[in-house]
């Protein structure tokens, strides 16, 4: 697994002496110094206070990461996993000036965030390079705050230019290929720049391979640039979605003459499924533009091409089903959030989030109606009723639940009415069950700081 590299609140105490077999690149020390000096003034040490939902309640957690200034008026680029879910972000500039920053927008899918420093003077900034020109073997410099140690510079080379990291679970970055480098990258380097010897940013450091030596990964600058432009212009990145999982051609054939991309699976509630696209179909083009992924490394570009289709408009896919070519027209949808909005319901002592398409698919729900219970407080009303993390609330009393906002309305009404018994109908995995919430007057407050361990009562099979 490849963990993200933001650091938690506690600075790692142990400092290891590591002789970083520093390459003496023939007479290039000057070049390294020059590149470092170009970027260093724009380097930012970032300390966001993240609002996370854990153990059934909202908590504030201090994180540490890195970033860099990209404009004289103070736009800063960092990782979403550093600055996401935070409202207050403290930044320390390279001259040690402390400045507060506002989160302009984030993109979970690429792990990019944009901040705006609240300053009234011009700031030093850096420019993006062209990550398509990068070659394995190029000298690169990583800058940032490894383990919270601000203003750290490390040197290495590009190891691979187009590493593919499987897009699964919370690591999902389906649109990213990655620049792999041996420049030392550690937790805390997240969001910091990977620069070339011209002092241009060619990547944003974001991942390390745990347990490995000097295997770090940066998001290529060309991907970052597009995302940053969208965030500054629109506050977010809009992508279109058809609901098809894609696989490289090599999964079925190693014939280089076969072009296209394989449909591996479908979200059952999606434009692609509705249009009759099937697993095993090979998509060869969209709106006449060829799509081709021979190797898995080619998949992120294909996914970006589909995401770039106009949202809510017709798109025509050319498919090969067996040897037969077909044209399928569908209407794209906007891709939903990777993480659903989350709300803490303190009276009952639990947190719930909006259902994402991924959750709906995992739970095999017939529709996207319901809310997902993300955690519960020990000793709370919800936990006492065995409502637990992973449950999906489908109905409250006789009211079918549609989404988080409507559930909150229903919930607020029930809390205000002090109705003694509330019946929930919930689903977990293949099983549905009834949960009786007892809003007993004067119920004891949930235990502070206790960790929720109860995952709900197992159902009994007759």
């Amino acid at each position: 697994m490849i963990p993200r590299i933001a650091v938690g609140a506690a600075l790692c105490a142990g400092v290891l002496l590591v002789s970083n077999g520093c390459a003496t690149i023939g007479g290039s020390e000057k070049a390294v110094l020059r590149a470092k000096d170009t970027v260093f003034p724009a380097l930012v040490h970032i300390r966001p206070v993240k609002e996370i939902y854990t153990s059934g309640k909202r908590q504030e957690v201090l994180a540490i990461g890195s970033g860099f200034i990209i404009s004289p008026d103070g736009y800063v680029v960092t990782n979403e996993h550093v600055a996401g879910e935070s409202k207050f972000v403290q930044c320390v500039l390279s001259d040690k000036e402390e400045v507060e920053a506002e989160v302009v927008g984030v993109d979970t899918f690429t792990d990019v965030a944009v901040l705006k420093l609240e300053v009234d003077h011009r700031l030093p900034f850096v420019e993006f390079g062209n990550s398509d020109d990068v070659e394995a073997g190029n000298t690169v410099i990583a800058m940032g705050s490894p383990h919270g140690l601000a203003r750290s510079v490390s040197l290495g080379i590009v190891s691979v230019t187009d590493r593919y990291l499987e897009d699964i679970g919370p690591m999902t970055s389906p649109f990213n290929s990655w620049i792999q480098t041996d420049a030392a990258i550690n937790p805390g380097n997240s969001g910091g720049p990977l620069i070339d010897l011209h002092g241009r940013v060619i990547g944003v450091n974001a991942r390390v391979l745990r347990g490995a030596e000097n295997v770090g990964f940066a998001i290529p600058s060309n991907i970052v640039k597009d995302v940053v432009d969208d965030i500054i212009k629109h506050g977010r990145v809009q992508r279109s979605w058809i609901g098809a999982d894609l696989q490289e051609m090599l999964a079925r054939t190693d014939d280089p003459a076969r072009h296209g991309v394989i449909v591996a699976g479908l979200d059952p509630i999606s434009p692609a499924a509705k249009a009759g696209i099937r697993p095993g179909d090979v998509i060869t083009a969209v709106n006449g533009k060829p799509l081709h992924a021979r190797f898995e490394e080619d998949l992120p570009a294909v996914r970006r091409a589909i995401a770039a289709l106009p949202i809510g408009q017709e798109a025509t896919f050319t498919l090969l089903r067996g040897e037969e070519e077909q044209q399928v027209t569908l209407v794209t949808e906007e891709r939903g959030a990777l993480r659903g909005d989350e709300v803490a319901f303190d009276e009952w002592g639990f947190t719930a989030s909006e259902l994402t398409p991924e959750l709906v698919r995992e739970a095999q729900l017939p529709s996207r109606m319901g809310v997902f219970v993300s955690g519960q407080q020990v000793g709370g009303i919800a936990a006492n009723a065995n409502l637990g993390g992973g449950d999906i609330i489908l109905r409250v009393d006789d009211t079918p639940i549609q989404n988080l906002a409507q559930f909150k309305e229903v919930y607020d009404g029930l809390v205000a009415s002090k109705k003694e018994l509330v019946l929930l109908f919930v689903k977990r995995g293949a099983l549905t069950r009834y949960v009786m919430i007892k809003q007993t007057p004067g119920a004891p407050a949930p235990a502070e700081g206790a960790e929720a361990v109860n995952e709900g009562e197992p159902a009994h099979v007759e």
Binding site: A251, T253, L423, G429, A430, Y434, H460, E462
Partner: protein, 460 residues
């Protein structure tokens, strides 16, 4: 005040223990009778990792107790747990020059008590020393009991005595005697004597069903299994159930007890019942039109008054014992109104561990049928048809092709696979055709995808 009470309590319990202790004479006399029947059970165990399907072998030993002259041996239920197969079972009786070693065979494990039985195999009729039990129902809270177990191998597995108190007596879900303190593992299954030296039971441990134990508790606390729980198996040792077609019945619902809160919420003037929470797709319950939210109030004429979680188990047993293939009247409340539904109870479908398996040495995978319980555990809808990959051989075609255990094979080269039979037929065909590549369509978690295998066909 608290400290005074504490002291008083301490005195009381100390006196009780003192008063109830068993005299050395009694224990010595019991030892004389019991020691010859205590034996060492040695066996090998083939264990299958439930997640990966990887198999490993281990040697184990346990305490055994001869309970009939002709060599029926009782031991604890750990020998017969899911995903493990004991073999090479040896029973050693007597010490030193008198030592006798026998082969033994494991009998089917009773499903109502966590005890296993072995039958010693010998050419000539046996006349072994054995232990007779008194009923054990006379035990009381606070009584001292003596327990017999095996010492460590450094002490030649000598039979040893420990003394404990009956720390608690529970009446539900069945009469249960809990010991007051932990016991060493080599005492589990060992005989327990009362203050008069009579063998009244054995040391027991409840385990969850998944571990092959009893159904309702997982206390982790040693118990005394009173002899009345297992005497029936000594009188009539368990035998392999004959498959007469009338196996365990099933209804195909998940239920919750109708607690007083649920009854109050629905304004039901009822004391207990079972709320149908999930109806299993394809089950007899679904065919009969039972719905989630129905409240079962009678089953085949038996009133259902479940109020606690553990009461649900009684219902499971009731359904099971009713027998498959029989139409049964089930009375339920639907929206508060009583209605009667007739259900044709089906045969309980095979569970995951009884699922048919097939090892394909050509591709290097072992597959299993998708059973109903697995479908529920993996949340697979009825339209997912296939076989699940149980094991992948190291270095096999499947491993090179990046297949993983747990993947559900749904098609081979566009031939749909819904059963082991389908799989065998498809592979047999492929073996004739000898293609250089095989495309596997499979499901991993909620996602589907393709694996490209490059088979290494044997030279024709």
């Amino acid at each position: 005040m608290w400290s005074k009470l504490g002291i008083a309590l301490a005195l009381v319990s100390a006196q009780t223990a003192f008063a109830a202790g068993i005299s050395g004479d009694v224990l010595r006399a019991a030892y004389e009778r019991i020691d010859p029947a205590v034996c060492l059970v040695e066996f090998s165990l083939e264990i299958t990792n439930a997640a990966t399907g990887q198999q490993s072998k281990q040697n184990r030993n346990a305490l055994g107790l001869v309970v009939t002259e002709d060599g029926l041996v009782m031991t604890h239920g750990h020998m017969a747990v899911e995903n493990s197969t004991p073999f090479n079972i040896k029973v050693t009786l007597g010490k030193g020059d008198d030592e006798q070693r026998y082969d033994a065979e494991l009998l089917p494990k009773p499903d109502d008590v966590n005890i296993a039985f072995l039958q010693i195999k010998d050419d000539k009729p046996l006349k072994l020393p054995y232990v007779r039990f008194s009923s054990g129902d006379s035990l009381q809270l606070g009584d001292s009991v003596g327990m017999f177990g095996l010492g460590p191998d450094t002490l030649d597995h000598a039979t040893m005595i420990q003394e404990r108190l009956i720390g608690a007596v529970l009446d539900k879900p069945r009469r249960t005697y809990a010991l007051d303190d932990a016991v060493r593992f080599a005492f589990v299954g060992g005989p327990v004597v009362d203050s008069r030296g009579r063998a009244v039971g054995v040391v027991g441990f409840d385990l969850s069903t998944a571990e092959g134990g009893e159904v309702y508790t997982r206390s982790g606390n040693p118990l005394v299994y009173q002899a009345s729980l297992f005497q029936k198996y000594i009188d009539k040792p368990p035998v392999e159930k004959e498959d007469d077609g009338a196996g365990d019945a099933w209804l195909g619902v998940f239920t919750q007890p109708l607690t007083p809160d649920f009854a109050r919420y629905w304004n039901l003037d009822r004391d207990g019942g079972l709320i149908v929470s999930t109806v299993v797709p394809g089950s007899p319950a679904e065919a009969a039109g039972l719905q989630s939210g129905d409240i079962i109030i009678t089953f085949d004429g038996t009133p259902i008054r479940a109020k606690l979680d553990r009461d649900v188990m009684g219902f499971t047993k009731l359904v099971r014992d009713t027998g498959a293939g029989k139409p049964v009247e089930v009375r339920v409340l639907r929206d508060g109104q009583p209605i009667t539904v007739t259900v044709d109870l089906g045969l309980r479908p095979p569970s995951e561990q009884d699922a048919a398996e097939y090892e394909d040495t050509q591709l290097g995978i072992t597959i299993r049928e998708l059973t109903t319980d697995l479908r529920i555990r993996l949340n697979l809808s009825e339209d997912v048809q296939g076989v699940i990959v149980r094991r992948i051989e190291s270095g096999s075609v499947a491993q090179v092709g990046k297949m993983i255990p747990g993947a559900i094979i749904m098609a081979l080269n566009d031939t749909p696979i819904a059963s082991i039979e389908d799989y065998k037929n498809a592979v047999a065909k492929l073996t004739e055709q000898r293609p250089s590549e095989i495309t596997v369509f499979a499901r991993v978690g909620p996602a589907t995808g393709f694996f490209r295998l490059q088979p290494r066909w044997p030279a024709p």
